[in-house]
């Protein structure tokens, strides 16, 4: 035994005698993780969060979350001697007078954009592959919660510098709170410590941004990861992969090296962006004052869809008995997002009710094999994209020389027409892909080689698929729709007829599929050929 090994052994012994960790570590260092590029999306979100904590901590050393009036004396000449809040002045100070401050600010902002983008793409991966099914519904809900918190956290973060652009965003958030019926005015006065903009709002959201929300997120992320660990990761279908096993590489050393390395890559890419791509150049906007605004005011991308919805809302307000209800704000800013996020959180339960499937699933779906879910996802993405386009309608209008009114009307109609259209088209594409899979399994791959038969007929040579490929294309289940039982065997009417009918209808739509080839089909084909 070398000296090094002896020291390591002593340390391990010391720790184990006090914690009993050897058994746990032995088991978990050998933990198997399946390998797929799409499993890195959640990792990107996690690493961006760490980058945000690191870069954010750096920024707090200089940022002064105060709305006290100061006269700027820093080194950025165009704003010299301009009156502004201490928050904005310190943000300028970080950008111009702290070495590496601008880099860190840009890394922080880029990491936030990447963080939320990674969460969204990770969520789409989980959705389209059905990874949210039993037993992972809790983790799905945690994920939806984390996305919601991340969006709020991002908004609060870019509101902190108190520049003209971010102040305009806060003004809009304030109007949304104020539009809530009955309690809105009171809520806004409590949140802002008085009327807008007040002198206490920035310090308040600062504490929420750097402590409260990150703390909650850290706790939720920990639970999210513990559940992934405990429930073991899902895996894509393939030869040798079943609901009863996990095929992949052990944590030590392969995943430690890959995941650790990947953290540095994500951080490196963020640093590269921070070094070369300017983001939120707040010195160009000037300090916030409610009487001014920048033309082409744009929120960050994850708020853009909300802004687009607000822009396209019809001008509806109700006045009755001396009270006002602003539907033009409530519907796009609170009701529609509320429905979207609630529906998203409940989706695993809705799907399991429709399919009647209460079993555990660890093998992921290929999206084409679940046409309804895939179509629903495409429909949601379409909805968000149309909203997002309208959120940038002013920039689109100036860049492409279009009329803003036409874009607005286009998206107003598009938001109603296009999502259902996307649903139908996606479902058809899924079924066509299923048909293509069936053809491939039964008749093999088209090789493009034409052969002339002795009697003059030309045929294209088809090459049979490997057994592995055939298995991949046919391993999925094709569940039959739930039978409608209006009357049970004893002749008693089902008391839940409406629900049962609804379920049967959804289930029938959900079960629509191109029959996958079976062993019998293949055998029959073989017999015909011989």
């Amino acid at each position: 035994m070398s000296a090094k090994e002896r020291v390591a052994g002593n340390v391990a012994n010391y720790v184990d005698e006090r914690t009993g960790s050897a058994k746990w570590l032995k088991k978990n260092l050998n933990k198997v993780f399946p390998d797929h590029w799409s499993f890195m999306l959640g990792e990107i979100a996690l690493y961006s969060f760490v980058i945000l904590l690191l870069s954010g901590t750096f920024l707090t050393f200089w940022f002064d979350p105060s709305m006290e009036h100061v006269v700027y004396k820093g080194s950025y000449q165009p704003l010299k001697d301009v009156e502004m809040s201490a928050a904005y002045a310190s943000a300028l100070n970080i950008s111009f007078d702290v070495r590496g401050g601008l880099l860190m600010r840009q890394i922080h902002h880029w990491a936030a954009l990447i963080f939320i983008a990674a969460i969204v793409v990770h969520l789409l991966r989980v959705f389209f592959t059905g990874a949210f099914r039993k037993p992972r519904e809790f983790n799905w809900i945690l994920g939806v919660g984390l996305l919601t918190l991340a969006i709020v956290e991002g908004f609060l973060g870019y509101s902190l510098p108190d520049d003209l652009l971010s102040g305009t965003g806060v003004r809009i958030a304030h109007a949304i709170i104020q539009a809530i019926p009955v309690v809105g005015t009171y809520l806004s006065f409590f949140a802002f410590g008085g009327a807008f903009p007040s002198e206490i709002f920035i310090p308040r959201i600062y504490v929420v941004h750097i402590l409260l929300i990150p703390g909650i997120m850290l706790a939720l992320i920990t639970v999210h990861l513990m559940l992934v660990w405990y429930q073991k990761h899902t895996q894509y279908p393939g030869p040798g992969r079943t609901e009863k096993n996990v095929v992949g590489y052990p944590l030590m050393p392969v995943y430690m090296a890959k995941a650790g390395g990947f953290f540095f890559i994500v951080f490196g890419v963020t640093a590269l962006l921070g070094a070369t791509a300017s983001i939120n150049p707040l010195w160009l906007y000037g300090p916030y004052t409610p009487g001014q605004v920048t033309a082409g005011s744009q929120p960050d991308w994850y708020m853009g869809w909300l802004d687009g919805l607000v822009r396209m809302a019809p001008p509806w307000e109700t006045y009755a008995f001396g009270y006002t209800i602003s539907w033009n704000i409530l519907i796009p800013a609170l009701i529609v997002p509320g429905i979207i996020f609630t529906g998203m959180a409940l989706y695993p339960f809705i799907e399991s009710w429709i399919t009647g499937d209460k079993r555990e699933h660890h093998i992921l779906d290929r999206p084409r094999n679940v046409p309804n879910r895939t179509a629903l996802g495409a429909m949601s993405i379409t909805f968000i994209i149309v909203s997002l386009i309208n959120g940038g309608n002013d920039l689109i209008a100036t860049h492409f020389d279009l009329s803003i009114n036409q874009i607005m009307w286009g998206t107003r109609i598009g938001i109603i027409v296009l999502p259902p259209l996307a649903f139908v088209i996606t479902k058809r594409i899924c079924l066509s892909l299923q048909r293509a899979d069936r053809e491939l399994v039964l008749h093999g791959r088209e090789t493009g080689r034409l052969v002339m038969l002795p009697h003059g007929e030309f045929v294209e040579v088809h090459e049979e698929l490997t057994p592995e490929k055939k298995w991949l294309l046919t391993q999925h289940e094709q569940a039959a729709p739930i039978e409608l039982e209006l009357v049970d065997q004893a002749g008693v009417r089902n008391p839940k007829t409406f629900r049962a009918k609804l379920q049967a209808r959804f289930s029938a739509a959900n079960a629509e599929a191109v029959a996958k080839p079976t062993a019998q089909d293949l055998k029959q084909l073989e017999n015909e050929h011989h």
Binding site: P197, G261, A271, A295, I329, Q475, E477
Partner: protein, 329 residues
């Protein structure tokens, strides 16, 4: 159900294919060197970072194609950090992919559900413990505990009471009074009608009373936009026309939708546009909403001139300015 027909059979995990570095010592050596080079590049990145921090002047700029004039200090720091991090990252991943074992391992997976015996034992012990606590029997304790826990929750909520003042009537009030002179923003100079040519726009605020200091909260309610048209261009009723002065009309600059500053005036169409959500108001028709999400015209301020010929307010706004709220009538 097609499931009942026999599915194709699972051929099982395919045979492991060795990588080049697993079987060829030359390839293995090469992979090892590649990893080492990547780590060395990382070290170079950190040196660049240190050099930039200490020796590149924070005010020095270099011209980089595409990026334009760039601060050399920030760029050196950023590139150094990026190279240092990416070198470690790519090195570690390359190491894992080429040199660490890539033999796939199969682990068992078990259903999440506990064994029936464990579940029964758990239920039994919960029942037993709650009987020990006697919650079922001692309903007096249960009820008073419920009461006190319910009440104690009120205290922290009540403590939040001082977060802000109650709104009262403050949303309806501005600093515009009868006779308040209009002053330029910025500059605080009174305005005469002759200062505004036809087609011109000016932002004004109420003149400060002696000793009064203007806060952002004031501006958020008081900001007013003056626009001068030819009188014959207005399509107003008699009352609203009397609120204008020689073709000068005054509107609250705070959008009646969500409170942004309605800052874009299009001279040819005489439309005011809010850059936030594109609510569009027709100046000739008392800021009637002609497009976009806003449901109300911008409040109009009645103006006239004082004895010295300076523009002043005839009276306060006759409605609350800014976005709607529940109590707004």
């Amino acid at each position: 159900m097609s499931n009942e027909l026999a599915p194709l059979s699972d051929p099982g995990l395919p045979a492991h294919v060795h990588r080049k570095a697993d079987i060829d010592p030359v390839a293995e050596k090469r992979a090892e060197q590649q990893v080492a080079v990547l780590f060395a590049i990382s070290a170079f990145g950190t040196l660049l970072f240190i050099y930039s921090y200490l020796f590149i002047d924070t005010e020095s700029f270099v011209f980089i194609p595409v990026m334009g004039n760039t601060n050399a200090h920030q760029l050196g720091l950023g590139m150094g950090l990026a190279i240092a991090l990416l070198g470690i990252g790519f090195g570690a991943v390359h190491w894992a992919k080429t040199l660490m074992s890539d033999t796939e391992v199969i682990a068992e997976r078990h259903e999440m559900r506990s064994e029936d015996a464990d579940r029964d034992a758990f239920v039994a012990s919960v029942k037993e413990r709650s009987e020990v606590a006697g919650l079922g029997r001692r309903s007096l304790i249960k009820r008073t505990l419920g009461l006190s826990v319910g009440l104690v929750g009120i205290s922290p909520i009540l403590l939040l009471g001082d977060l802000g003042p109650l709104p009262g009537k403050s949303l309806e009030e501005t600093n515009w009074r009868r006779g308040t002179r209009l002053v330029t923003d910025p500059g605080d100079r009174p305005i005469k009608p002759a200062d505004l040519e036809v087609g011109a726009v000016a932002q004004v605020l109420p003149e400060l009373r002696p000793g009064q200091k203007r806060t952002l909260n004031d501006i958020a309610k008081d900001a007013v936009l003056l626009i001068r048209l030819r009188t014959e261009e207005f399509q107003l009723d008699a009352e609203r026309l009397s609120w204008t002065y020689e073709g000068i009309i005054a509107f609250s600059k705070i959008c009646s939708h969500m409170g942004c500053a309605v800052a874009l005036y299009e001279q040819t169409t005489k439309h005011l546009l809010c850059p936030c959500h594109q609510s569009t108001f027709d100046v000739t028709r008392a800021a009637k909403v002609i497009f976009g999400p806003s449901a109300r015209p911008l409040p109009q301020l009645a103006i006239t001139v004082d004895a010295d010929g300076n523009l002043m307010a005839q009276k306060p706004f006759n409605e609350a300015v800014g976005p709607s709220y529940w109590e707004r009538s």
